[in-house]
Symmetry: C2
Subunit: 163 residues, 2 copies
DNA sequence: TAAAATAGTCAAGCATGATTTACTAAATGA
DNA sequence: TCATTTAGTAAATCATGCTTGACTATTTTA
């Protein structure tokens, strides 16, 4: 294969690459979401914080469990939760079933998750405007399936290094 | 709205959220890609490194230009490029048109981008197996459109803070 | 041709995100 | 009941990823 042919092929592959698109889209949503949430809440929200949200159950989640899910130490999670409580996004309530434990909840106050949700919803709306409802549905469906696949792969590669 | 109703609605919204799916998928591809590449190359590749790749042109790219594209200082990029050169993934060649400048290229040696590409291609293949060719096409098309939208939004929010 | 701009390097410093070690308090269980 | 495990906190420490400021070597331009 000639050098030029290789280069054209490579460039084309990069264009078409779904992995690459996923990488970039993920980062953009992340940055955009944090920027908007920060502006709206007036709080020093960082990516490290938003990373926790998907793992907080609505019934509340213990710190250790949260740490296990996110994959970092409970001490590290503890600091982040402290900051989120300070910002008014989360709350700590005693665990009724275990006197040692406390559960991390979404806060219900005025600058609670609702504001955070409205930020995500805003990005969502922007996207839907651009893609149209059918496009949005397609994206949603395939993404869900892709996510399941990726999660399975990630699970796998924790034990055996890689495929 | 009752507390329980709110909670159900919230959980459902989280499930359906495309933004959330994009966030998670992006992170998973990122981690998976870095893990596989690291295992294959036997090099201490980090996310900061892989972030550069999409911005390196095949004709070679100047450091300053690369920094501008990535959005960080040229000094920071310089360190990362040094490390990638050390790993054998990139090369520096003098710029024929400017004696001050050098261009960053993908290396052509044995542990070059080709290996890196094969990693991305591997993830790609895993995804395609799971989604099927039509699903993959749908995902690719909608992602490309979503990406354009997100990039426009990101561009915008740099100037005016947020929407 | 002298002055200003540009490409890149070097080094110091800083915030972030995490780990490790050490501890307290409550629960479990032999 | 006493020993062990578990939930959480506290503090020191570390690598990472980045910025800022200062400098050299070229190129551009006035």
């Amino acid at each position: 294969m000639s050098d030029e042919a290789f280069q054209r092929e490579f460039a084309a592959a990069k264009e078409r690459s779904v992995s690459h698109a996923l990488l970039k889209a993920g980062r953009l949503v992340d940055e955009l979401g944090v920027a908007r949430a920060r502006a709206r809440l007036g709080a020093p929200l960082r990516r490290a914080h938003t990373r926790l949200f998907p793992y907080v159950d609505l019934e509340g989640t213990r710190l250790s469990e949260l740490a296990r899910r996110v994959g970092i130490s409970k001490q590290a999670v503890g600091v982040l939760v402290d900051e989120l409580v300070e910002m008014g996004a989360l709350e700590r309530r005693p665990d009724p079933e275990d006197g040692r434990a406390r559960r991390v909840h979404f806060a219900t106050g005025p600058r609670s998750v609702l504001d955070g949700l409205s930020v995500l919803a805003g990005i969502e709306a922007d996207l839907e405007r651009a893609l149209g409802a059918p496009g949005m549905r397609q994206l949603q469906r395939q993404l869900t399936r892709a996510l399941a696949t990726l999660e399975a792969l990630a699970e796998h590669s924790q034990s055996d290094g890689h495929s």
